[in-house]
């Protein structure tokens, strides 16, 4: 029963979503909405689960005196601090008229978001520019024919995505060589490649979904296939 019931739920939910795409009327339409609500609720709980798991791992790191325990302490303080500020702003905002959301401008949570979370996230992400440049310098080499083709395509796409390179060749020709070639690469070879990937993914999703709906694939409930 521990295996049959989850398989039954999966099969019913999968069939409802598949059928309701073609027959959006009741009972399929209504069932789809109910299952959709369930998924939303489960996902909301998953956020909590993730946060609690992060706390558990961080506390374990501190208690085991791991080398990373200082970072774990920062995670715990940041998580609980942000949560407390959000709850406080949300609760006090309810008493105001008109009501104020914890995310509204001027709240403590909004201050944290703008002046701590945003700069920290931007800093982490902007470091990518340095690593991408360094990786391009070390790895983007014309070692063989395929790598050379990639190098040429990358050269034109990078050059064509900014106006400088067309400006540089403008004394020779008015034709925007770089941007034209970048556009051509994106429109034809890129689109063809993306379509192939998309069709492949779609076929893979369909086959694995069918296996799950029919109960052949059971790895998601802790068992092997078949």
């Amino acid at each position: 029963m521990r295996r049959q019931i989850p398989i039954l739920i999966t099969t019913i939910a999968g069939l409802v979503f598949a059928i309701s795409y073609f027959i959006p009327h009741d009972p399929f339409g209504e069932s789809e909405s109910i299952f959709g609500d369930w998924i939303t609720i489960v996902q909301a709980f998953a956020v909590w689960l993730g946060a609690l798991n992060l706390l558990k791992i961080s506390f374990e790191k501190i208690s085991s005196k791991s080398a990373d325990r200082h970072y774990a302490a920062i995670i715990i303080v940041s998580l609980i601090g942000t949560l407390a500020v959000g709850f406080y702003d949300g609760y006090s905002g309810m008493a105001q008229d008109p009501q104020v959301s914890f995310r509204d401008p001027g709240t403590n949570f909004d201050w944290l978001y703008r002046f701590i979370y945003t700069p920290l996230s931007a800093t982490m992400f902007s470091m990518l520019a340095f690593f991408v440049a360094s990786a391009s310098y070390r790895a983007f080499r014309a070692r063989n024919v395929q790598a050379t083709l990639l190098l040429i395509a990358g050269f034109f796409v990078m050059g064509g995505r900014v106006p400088l390179f067309d400006m540089m060749i403008s004394p020779i020709t008015d034709f925007p060589v770089f941007s034209w070639f970048a556009d051509w690469i994106m429109t034809y070879p890129n689109t063809a490649g993306q379509r192939a990937i998309m069709i492949g993914i779609a076929l893979g999703i369909m086959s694995s979904s069918l296996r799950i709906i029919l109960g052949i694939e059971r790895s998601h409930i802790g068992g092997g296939s078949g």
Partner: protein, 303 residues
């Protein structure tokens, strides 16, 4: 003054890159930290120059603009903000330019987010758009001219449920005002009551989900603003007409600002991106020269 100094420094940096090129040919490869310094300079110096580059508007941006121009004042536009601060340098200028245009054209804006941080990015974009004297003069009212429905978890299932009823996923706006009490949403039940959907996306859930679970099933018109990394993946949808237009990365944002006659952040940041691209290209050339030089040395040594 600052601009002139930045330009002189940029010229010195350019000359030093030529020096590095010569050194590499002589057999002295460039260290990784040198690359970091040059990228840092390539990003920072242009920001001090206050210069903009002449920019042609590509057909994907033009298509979006042309479609938006066909919308009548009072049209209801759903804006999905599906990104967070790390992607804001690319997507926030697009969002600000789009909202400025929409408010000036008297569109009614319904904001939502499939990413938790999206509605807050939208709030910041609205604040920036409201600084425009023309928009400030309109005395726009939240709930009548625009509404922020906030974030809802559930990814593509949120889109799917919104196809039946928006209220099901967003029973209240971000100020906790019930859906039915918001004047702007009085006759908005589902996608059939909005005239256009605009999605600013940095990943999943994002434009993929809006096309696959929204456009294909409910048939609304969708435009998108994507990060430069994500934009190439959207070309099949663009060519198939499932996307009405696409703003790709910083350059897409700058082109959109140009077509709207707005001088926004993207036009300013584009110079920094241009310098960064040029620097990376030069280092790739230097890297390849070093590679061929070392290969030649190895071949000579083997003989």
């Amino acid at each position: 003054m600052l601009s002139t100094i930045a330009m002189i420094l940029s010229a010195i940096v350019g000359l030093s890159l030529i020096y590095l090129l010569i050194r590499t040919i002589q057999g002295h490869p460039v260290e990784r930290r040198i690359v970091f310094v040059y990228i840092g300079l390539a990003v920072v110096l242009p920001l001090l120059m206050n210069k903009t580059l002449p920019l042609p508007v590509t057909k994907d941006v033009r298509k979006l603009y042309d479609r938006l121009e066909q919308l009548q004042p009072g049209s209801k536009v759903l804006c999905a903000f599906d990104y967070d601060p790390p992607s804001a340098p690319e997507l926030q200028p697009m969002a600000v330019a789009f909202l400025k245009y929409a408010f000036k054209k008297d569109f009614k804006i319904i904001i939502m987010g499939l990413w938790p941080q999206g509605p807050q990015q939208a709030q910041q974009a609205i604040e920036e758009a409201m600084l425009d004297p023309i928009i400030a003069g309109k005395n726009l009212v939240q709930g009548e001219d625009w509404v922020n429905l906030g974030f809802q978890s559930g990814n593509e299932f949120v889109i799917q449920s919104m196809g039946t009823e928006f209220k099901r996923m967003f029973p209240k706006d971000n100020r906790r005002i019930p859906y039915e009490d918001i004047p702007l949403l009085q006759n908005v039940v589902n996608f059939s009551n909005v005239d256009f959907v605009m999605n600013f996306s940095a990943g999943k859930p994002g434009t993929y989900e809006w096309v696959q679970f929204g456009v294909d099933r409910f048939g609304f018109e969708l435009g998108a603003g994507n990060t430069a990394v994500q934009a190439p993946m959207m070309y099949p949808y663009l060519r198939a007409g499932q996307l009405k237009g696409l703003l790709g990365g910083m350059i897409g944002a700058a082109e959109f600002e140009k077509v709207l006659n707005e001088k926004g952040k993207a036009s300013t940041f584009l110079l920094a991106q241009t310098f960064a691209h040029a620097t990376v290209i030069i280092f790739i050339i230097i890297g390849n020269l070093a590679f061929f030089a070392s290969r030649k040395k190895k071949t000579a040594g083997a003989r």
